[in-house]
């Protein structure tokens, strides 16, 4: 998806610049979550005549990400956007990049809660841990006691482990008599479905089913529908991401909510932050940006379902999404 032009013309009100290359280092390069992120980066680059590279690790192997970052520095990248999924490992590479005059921002993940893990210029995104915490908090509005299971495809992997840790913390902080059990599913969605099915078989009176990755979330929706768990005392079911089956489950009421982390922004904004830094000779320094999260519920699921858009990753074509009517608010 890169622009084929060799050097950029002037775009809009901006001066002519070299064709800058921004490298995104991701911990799970092929994860569908980041499909819209890549579109966001691509669209931003198109606007300003830059190009981007999407690289890193497939299975959140930090060493591979470090290698990719080092390679980006060697190759003379003009800016780096980095998912800082480890609070120590990227300190050296980021410093090295900064020393080499390459601006670095973090996106999607920014070290640990107590330590941002690098000297990046700014963080653009919604924290994984925070989003997990939000998952739990939202569930707490519907549940006061009982058993809650949290499904995670690959325990220990840094793209999702912080989410489940966040959710667990939310329940702990609430002080309610709720037992939260993290349950491992599988990177293979088909296995995940069987595992969630089995768990539910063994825990007929489970009060809440949460999931922290796209595959597990869609499977939770399917299992709730299959056993009509809504009629059997299940109080809350929710998860992450917007794949078609998940949206269908939200629509049918099998899932109460799913969290949209607005991944498009996590690609679009870092490109602009890096671009403006380069353009202004460092005068415009990237700023902390919370890309937020959005709860998709039965009330607002329709536009997600009815329109396939590049902004959610469900389509490749750039097109205008029409909307009308009032905007929901508190």
């Amino acid at each position: 998806g890169e622009d084929q032009a060799t050097s950029a013309d002037a775009f809009g009100n901006f001066p002519k610049t070299p064709k800058w290359k921004f490298v995104f280092v991701c911990h799970v390069t092929t994860n569908p979550f980041f499909t819209p992120t890549q579109y966001g980066a691509e669209d931003a680059c198109k606007l300003i005549g830059a190009e981007y590279q999407w690289t890193g690790s497939v299975n959140s192997v930090v060493a591979e990400m470090v290698d990719a970052t080092n390679t980006a520095i060697s190759s003379g990248a003009d800016g780096i956007a980095l998912a800082v999924v480890d609070k120590a490992a990227f300190r050296g590479p980021v410093d090295k990049a900064l020393d080499a005059g390459i601006p670095v921002v973090s996106y999607n993940a920014d070290g640990a809660r107590d330590d941002v893990g690098s000297n990046r210029l700014a963080y653009i995104g919604q924290g994984l841990y925070e989003s997990g915490y939000a998952l739990g908090q939202r569930a707490l509005t519907q549940i006061d006691s009982g058993e809650v299971a949290g499904f995670i495809a690959t325990p220990g992997q840094l793209n999702i482990q912080p989410r489940i840790d966040g959710a667990q913390q939310a329940f702990k902080d609430s002080g309610k008599p709720i037992t939260f059990t993290p349950v491992a599913t599988n990177a293979d969605v088909t296995q995940g479905l069987s595992i969630i099915d089995a768990y539910v078989q063994g825990h007929q009176n489970v009060a809440g089913l949460l999931a922290v990755d796209a595959g597990s979330t869609q499977s939770v929706g399917q299992v709730v529908g299959k056993y009509k768990l809504r009629d059997k005392g299940l109080k809350v079911a929710g998860g992450f991401d917007l794949v078609p089956e998940t949206l269908a489950a939200v629509k049918s009421g099998d899932l109460d909510y799913t969290i949209d982390q607005q991944p498009y922004l996590q690609g679009f904004l870092p490109v602009f932050a890096l671009y403006l830094y380069k353009l202004s000779g460092g005068l415009i320094s990237p700023t902390q940006t919370n890309t937020g999260l959005l709860f998709v519920t039965k009330d607002n699921v329709d536009p997600y379902q009815n329109s396939k858009t590049r902004y959610e990753g469900s389509d490749t074509a750039p097109k205008l999404v029409e909307r009308s009517g009032p905007i929901a608010h508190e």
């Binding site: 569908p32 993290p182 990177a187 063994g202 399917q222 078609p244």
Partner: protein, 347 residues
């Protein structure tokens, strides 16, 4: 076959009195059972059923059995192909990608090229066969070790999958909804039925046909098989094609079952890895020359039972793996112990 008992030596082994008819029938049946290589894995699988049923009464409910069946079937189908290929002395690590790609191929054919459902499904299977053929060609004609060849095709297919699908799940094509989807995976016992059919067919192929005999020969003694005039190229390439087609078929079944075409079907190398594990647990040698299709099914059943049973018991994520690891080791040690007993106890 092959693994059968020798009759008593004529050289003076004292024969026990023949037992009375009723007991004799029973004993013959028991013997015939124990003589099978798959007997010990079956006993392990049964042992696990007993254990889990004792731990939780839900284990043997219809719902849960269906659940186990669905977790067993697709990987077992792949494992059947893997058994044939391992027996012939080769390996295929790309089959998981074929499983992921096949539903997309069907989706492209139907939704982009407006091909009707059944031909689209067949097309996906034919392309899979083509992939198997290429694997075979590069491995045998160009003499690249099959592990490396299929590692190459793994990445290649992964690239094709990602670039064409943008790593995003899509819905099952409309024209397949209804009967086709039900029969090809969504029906409660559909995957199991297909799995049993595939197992039955390839059990016969491996044990009762020339193809099977030649597969064992090229894996067991490649030089000798060639000396005997067996065309190793054809046999091995054929088995590569069988694996790919079965992989594609398993992928289609899974897509229909989970009602979504997802790039993570097969989980990359997960399905291959698990299929190899199932095959090896069932008694297939990684080094080639021997293996059983039914054993692979039982091996997969053992793995699925362990997964399902501990999930039923509600073991949480982190300790799950600990327990699963111990359980695998314990079952397999028991398995070996049983099969030693079996061999020693032959009459």
């Amino acid at each position: 076959m092959s693994d059968t008992i020798a009759s008593p030596a004529a050289t003076g082994a004292d024969q026990p009195e023949p037992p009375r008819p009723a007991r004799r029938v029973l004993r013959t049946a028991t013997d015939a059972f124990l003589r099978r290589r798959e007997a010990s894995v079956l006993l392990v699988a049964i042992g696990l059923v007993v254990y889990f049923q004792a731990s939780t009464p839900i284990f043997l409910t219809t719902d849960n059995l269906r659940n186990i069946a669905q977790a067993t079937a697709p990987t077992a189908i792949v494992a059947v192909g893997i058994v044939l290929l391992l027996v012939s002395g080769e390996i295929d690590v790309s089959v998981g990608m074929v499983a992921a790609l096949a539903p997309y191929l069907m989706h492209y054919a139907i939704d982009l090229y407006s091909i009707p459902a059944i031909p689209a499904i067949l097309l996906a299977l034919v392309i899979a066969a083509g992939i198997g053929f290429v694997n075979g060609f590069i491995t045998i004609r160009l003499k690249v070790p099959s592990f490396v060849t299929t590692l190459g095709t793994f990445y290649l297919l992964y690239g094709v999958l990602l670039t064409t699908s943008h790593a995003y799940p899509v819905a099952i094509p409309e024209p397949t909804k209804g009967n086709i989807q039900t029969w090809l995976g969504a029906g409660d016992w559909a995957t199991l039925a297909w799995c049993l059919l595939v197992v039955a067919i390839f059990h016969i192929v491996l044990t009762q046909t020339r193809w099977g005999l030649h597969t064992i020969s090229v894996g067991g003694n490649p030089l000798g098989a060639t000396e005997a005039g067996i065309r190793a190229t054809r046999v091995k390439t054929g088995n590569f094609m069988i694996v790919s087609v079965l992989g594609a078929f398993a992928g289609l079944l899974e897509a229909f079952r989970i009602n979504s075409i997802d790039p993570n079907i097969g989980g990359g190398t997960r399905i291959t890895f698990t299929a190899i594990a199932a095959a090896v647990i069932g008694g297939t040698a990684l080094a080639g020359g021997s293996g059983t299709v039914i054993g692979a099914l039982l091996g997969m059943l053992v793995l699925a039972e362990l997964q399902n049973g501990f999930n039923l018991l509600g073991i949480s994520a982190n300790s799950f793996f600990l327990i699963q690891g111990i359980a695998i080791l314990a079952s397999m040690i028991a398995n070996q112990y049983l099969s030693r007993l079996r061999r020693a106890g032959r009459t």
